[in-house]
């Protein structure tokens, strides 16, 4: 059957079961949009291309499917770069289609031309410029394959206008694409070694990262933990990979991790890491990180092994397959837990929990941001899908909301992209129209993609924004307070808009609370409206996120706020 390039694109999107595209039209993609006009694929018109990519990314994180964005050439394409780099840092499977000027004009500095494959080479898993119509179908297929297999990631496909307008024979049965990445499988010997280390260990800890969620291994993890009763901590990206209300849950570790998670890491004799890459925000000073422990590192990506931390037993494998194998061996070898030894370790952890619990002080007439997040958790009973912006709001969301269900914490971990959370929430809401989706935001971040309010209203997406407004770029201000003798260089937002009025102007419901007793009633009112709602909380301006490990310090040396330094 003879088809135009634009028809082939939409045909393959259907074959790939794409139901939603986030996009923004323009001259180079006008033919694709003309085809979309006749298509039943849902298109969400964003207000900025960065928003399209974050929305596709949020959609992917929540649903486990590949997210898709479509933008025009030149500025449309360059506006996607932050979104692509965000997805790349967190290994999120998205495919971004960019329009391109006709192949005859490429390299001529044509109107709205940019070398987007050149620009995005280091921040995509792979990218393509389709120069011939014959290559179009196999390239799009391969793009989806690359995005979702192995360690997932963003793939960009650049589509010149003349290629999309030309015609070719399309027969899906003849498309040959290279198979995706092979599934890494580790040898049984490695797993037997792991069993041996597990048997020898008295004080083990499991550290999970985003790989457990990306690898859809949360069930297997739970089975493993319940059998072995090993306490679990997590990176920011691993949050919601293990139930946050489980007794063996330690909370997040690292720079703003809990005291007891960091102490457990510093005192454990076996650290089993799954799908995490030992980022500097997690390890602190690398020489003292888990320095008493043997380390097992299970990861799908061989390049993550021994990159930041040299480990004793690397296992390169898909996490789900690895955990299935380990659970199988536990049963087969009749793994017997030394109950007294394990209890002693858990008692020690309990003592640390009592010594320094995760806490804050809600007193006086000023709303504490942590209080808002805690109330949000109580009122939603942990059932909401939370997205976050970046900074203090993100850390409080990580600390004071407990994530019981997988894929309910959605945040830019690696790149730390302010302006991510709100468009991501739009993407999540598209994937789950009936879910309660809440973006926990700060006044700095929300203004970076505030234009997407129009998108939410246009498509009746009832996303909720919980805005913790302190009129500061709070995290940088906190560093200035702690490390720069309170020289608040350009972190005070002297002017912020009246957020309630902004919300109302866009067609949101806007609510504001200024006193602690207003928090709960306002959340109750705002959260359950079947409309998009912005809830602004004017919070304590100079509240800091604690505990805190100084950048480059050991994770067992934490600043705890009102208490003394603990060593």
């Amino acid at each position: 059957m003879k088809l135009k390039g634009t028809q082939i694109l939409l045909q393959i999107l259907k074959e790939e079961k794409v139901d939603t595209i986030f996009g923004y039209p323009g001259g180079s993609v006008i033919d694709i949009y003309d085809e979309l006009y006749r298509s039943d694929i849902k298109h969400i018109l964003v207000r900025h291309e960065q928003g399209a990519v974050h929305a596709a990314d949020g959609y992917a994180r929540a649903s486990g499917k590949v997210g898709v964005a479509l933008v025009t050439s030149g500025p449309g394409a360059t506006n996607t770069v932050t979104g692509i780099a965000t997805a790349h840092s967190d290994s999120i499977p998205i495919v971004v289609f960019t329009g391109q000027v006709p192949t005859t004009l490429i390299g001529n500095d044509a109107f709205q031309e940019s070398d987007i494959t050149g620009i995005t080479r280091p921040c995509t898993k792979h990218n393509f410029l389709v120069r011939n119509i014959e290559d179009l179908a196999p390239t799009i297929k391969e793009a989806f394959q690359i995005a979702r297999t192995g360690r997932p990631g963003p793939v960009l496909v650049d589509l010149p206008k003349n290629v999309m307008a030309s015609t070719t024979e399309y027969d899906p049965s003849t498309i040959v694409i290279k198979s995706g990445e092979p599934l890494h499988k580790a040898s049984t010997k490695k797993y037997l070694q792991a069993m041996e280390l597990l048997r020898e260990a008295s004080n083990p800890v499991v550290l999970i990262g985003g790989g457990v969620l990306l690898g859809k291994a949360t069930e297997e993890l739970r089975t493993f933990i319940e059998k072995t009763r090993i306490p679990v901590t997590s990176t920011l990206m691993g949050l919601s990979g293990f139930p946050g209300t489980h007794p063996l849950w330690l909370g997040m570790l690292g720079m703003h991790g809990t005291y007891y998670a960091n102490m457990a890491i510093s005192h454990c004799d076996l650290l089993i890491t799954m799908g995490a890459r030992f980022s500097d925000r997690v390890t602190g000073k690398i020489e003292t990180f888990a320095d008493k422990a043997k380390i097992i590192h299970i990861d799908v990506d061989p390049s993550s092994i021994n990159k930041n931390v040299v480990v004793d037993l690397p296992i390169v494998s898909d996490i789900k397959a690895a955990l299935q194998q380990i659970n199988h061996l536990l049963a087969e070898l009749r793994f017997n837990l030394n109950e007294t030894e394990r209890q002693a370790w858990l008692d020690q952890i309990d003592a640390w929990k009592k010594e320094v619990p995760l806490t804050y002080c809600q007193d006086g007439q000023i709303i504490k941001p942590q209080y808002v997040v805690e109330k949000l958790f109580e009122l939603t009973r942990g059932k909401a899908i939370i997205t976050t912006e970046v900074g203090q709001n993100q850390m409080w969301a990580a600390q004071f909301y407990r994530y019981d269900n997988p894929h309910t914490f959605i945040s830019s971990g690696g790149l730390g992209t302010m302006g991510y959370g709100f468009p991501a929430a739009i993407g999540v809401q598209c994937a789950f129209p009936d879910a309660l989706v809440v973006d926990i935001a700060g006044d700095g971040s929300i203004q970076m993609n505030i234009q997407e309010m129009a998108t939410a209203v246009q498509y009746n997406l009832p996303v909720k924004i919980v805005l913790l407004n302190n009129n500061y770029l709070g995290m940088v201000r906190q560093w200035q307070e702690m490390f720069y003798e309170k020289r608040y260089s350009h972190t005070e937002m002297m002017v912020t808009p009246d957020f309630v009025k902004v919300a109302e102007a866009y067609g949101f419901v806007g609510l504001r609370a200024t006193r602690p007793e207003e928090v709960e009633p306002m959340l109750k009112k705002g959260l359950f409206m079947p409309k998009p709602v912005l809830m602004e909380f004017q919070v304590a301006r100079e509240e800091c996120v604690y505990p805190m490990v100084r950048p480059g310090g050991s994770i067992c040396e934490m600043t705890l706020g009102t208490r003394e330094m603990i060593n």
């Binding site: 080479r121 898993k125 792979h126 410029l129 061989p302 390049s303 092994i305 040299v310």
Partner: protein, 164 residues
Amino acid sequence: MEKTDKKEYILSLLVNNRPDVLARIAGTLGGKGYNIDSLCVDVTMNPDISKVILTTKATKIMIGRVINALNKLVDVVKVENLSDVEAIKREMILIRMNLMKETKPELMKIIDMLNCKILTFNTDHCVLQFTGGREDVDKVLAALKPLGIDDIARTGAAALERKY
């Protein structure tokens, strides 16, 4: 300590013969702060596959990371560390000499002694070709330098496992 442990590694990559592949390889090394000291690329017996041979200085741990990162590139089919095996390495150099009456006999003697090939020869210039290991090429250059080198072109190293 890391610096002093650095040694030269020679990697042989099989890659898809697609546009942009070299940029991806160079970007991967450059992005991680490694310099490509020498590079040699051409298509293999299979026209869809090219072979890239590159040398870079790194520590043992660092070279492992470089290989892992290269392996992650979609268009890289295989990475071989030729420093792990016994490999034959050869470079080629083209040398254009300024010809002068008084140095000519000495030049002819060296050409003969060092096994250089004469490609062109006229009254003012001659172009020589030499193939050998890096040290041999350096030796030839050193010997010819006093006799008036006009310009040179050196290839990167090509290398192949010996296999017994």
